[in-house]
Symmetry: C2
Subunit: 246 residues, 2 copies
């Protein structure tokens, strides 16, 4: 949450004002949380350029000037929102995809968590997607340092499984790209799916269950070392399902 990312920011002290408040931190923390939540919604809906400070202020129920009191500029507010998102981004994969697990169990657990995230935090996913579309100017270093190392680690785990004959040989990085693409698209492209499936305002619980089953079938089918791919069908990996963030 504080400074997890090597150099997400160009300017010296990103939001030090938020990290070390000079007075009693409580009201400050309340206001900033309020602003960040409003900003996440507005940035997700309109993108960085399309979002206006006025719209964020209105949604937060505050006058415009207060935003500039807590965040020096629009860009800094945007970066703060992005940090919030990225901070929680990598934990799940590192929790599930570890050499000790069975490959099918690990991937199934990860996919279920990611699908649940697409539903519960769709706005966060959309902001990240918009950032990628725009060339990722604000998170370049995060991608090529943190994320790259992260994927390298996952790929090592895949190689380990493959060498042990527990998983069919696959390009691990592209496997991750595909899993991300499928799971996140149920957040990023949900309008499209709603239209195609004839849903009114949002996708339904049933849709996410169907989607999860589809993704599981695709991934587990390709990963399974033989015909008997019984794992990950219905069972919950022992004692971890509840731990993962919703």
């Amino acid at each position: 949450m504080t400074s997890l990312f090597s150099r997400m920011v160009d300017q010296p002290s990103a939001h030090a004002a938020v990290a070390s408040p000079p007075g009693p931190g409580l009201p400050r923390r309340l206001s900033t949380e309020q602003i960040l939540r409003a900003a996440e919604a507005v940035f997700a809906a309109h993108g960085y350029a399309g979002a206006t400070m006025a719209a964020i202020a209105e949604r937060a129920g505050l006058p415009k000037a207060n935003l500039h009191y807590y965040f020096r500029s629009k860009e800094q507010l945007y970066r703060a929102v992005l940090e919030d998102i990225l901070a929680t981004w990598l934990a799940d994969a590192d929790h599930w995809i570890v050499p000790e697990r069975d490959p099918a169990e690990a991937l199934a657990g990860y996919i279920r968590v990611k699908m649940r995230l697409s539903r519960a935090r769709a706005d966060a996913s959309r902001i990240f997607a918009g950032e990628m579309l725009g060339g990722a100017a604000h998170v370049r270093d995060f991608l090529s340092i943190e994320l790259r190392a992260h994927v390298e680690r996952l790929d090592d785990t895949f190689r380990h499984w493959i060498a042990a004959g527990r998983m069919r040989p696959l390009p691990g990085k592209h496997l991750m790209f595909c899993i991300w693409a499928m799971t996140q698209s149920y957040a990023d492209f949900s309008v499209q799916m709603q239209a195609v499936l004839g849903r009114a305002g949002t996708l339904e619980e049933q849709d996410f269950e169907d989607a999860t089953r589809m993704v599981l079938q695709l991934v587990l089918g390709a990963v399974a070392v033989d015909g008997g791919s019984a794992a990950g069908r219905r069972d919950t990996p022992p004692g971890h399902q509840g731990t993962a963030r919703a």
Copy 2:
């Protein structure tokens, strides 16, 4: 290209000025093509709100006012770009995914075409993705009418194959969502992949080949009715590969 889409526009006559030019159409057509190409690049890079008419004009090598001569407003120009994209969007699936083909051959052919499109027309894919992120305000009707019918048709073909025992039972619509997600993400999220794979400016030919193989393995493995999934591995469906647009 002209008015393929039921009601993409709210205002009465979308760009009738382009459809029926009053003078010799050649210079007009040249300028509009020039503008549309520049607009596609700029809208893709900055989104609708982030793109400026000045930037589009500069890229097209024309003064700003000329854009407003050919297109009444920024929004109308954007819609024209979107129409251009959507017009070529649906043809491939209807070409490949037809009941007469073998399911594995059909899906393999379609996936290869979509992956090639992600490379050759990445900007178009990104504009569409941005439009989805923003709530699809400009293409709502296209999604819920044309695209919905399109997917319904594809789903019928899947049901046909499943009933004939040529394909494993799968939710056809979600299968299409997943195929789109995976193939298009190699255009929309290519910055992310470049960073993770350590590529300089763009993804390389080899990356797209690896990606295509990965997607094929995922989809064909889940679709194949038995263990012997020999189809779609390397061979080209007879006499159609060359027909598909690059």
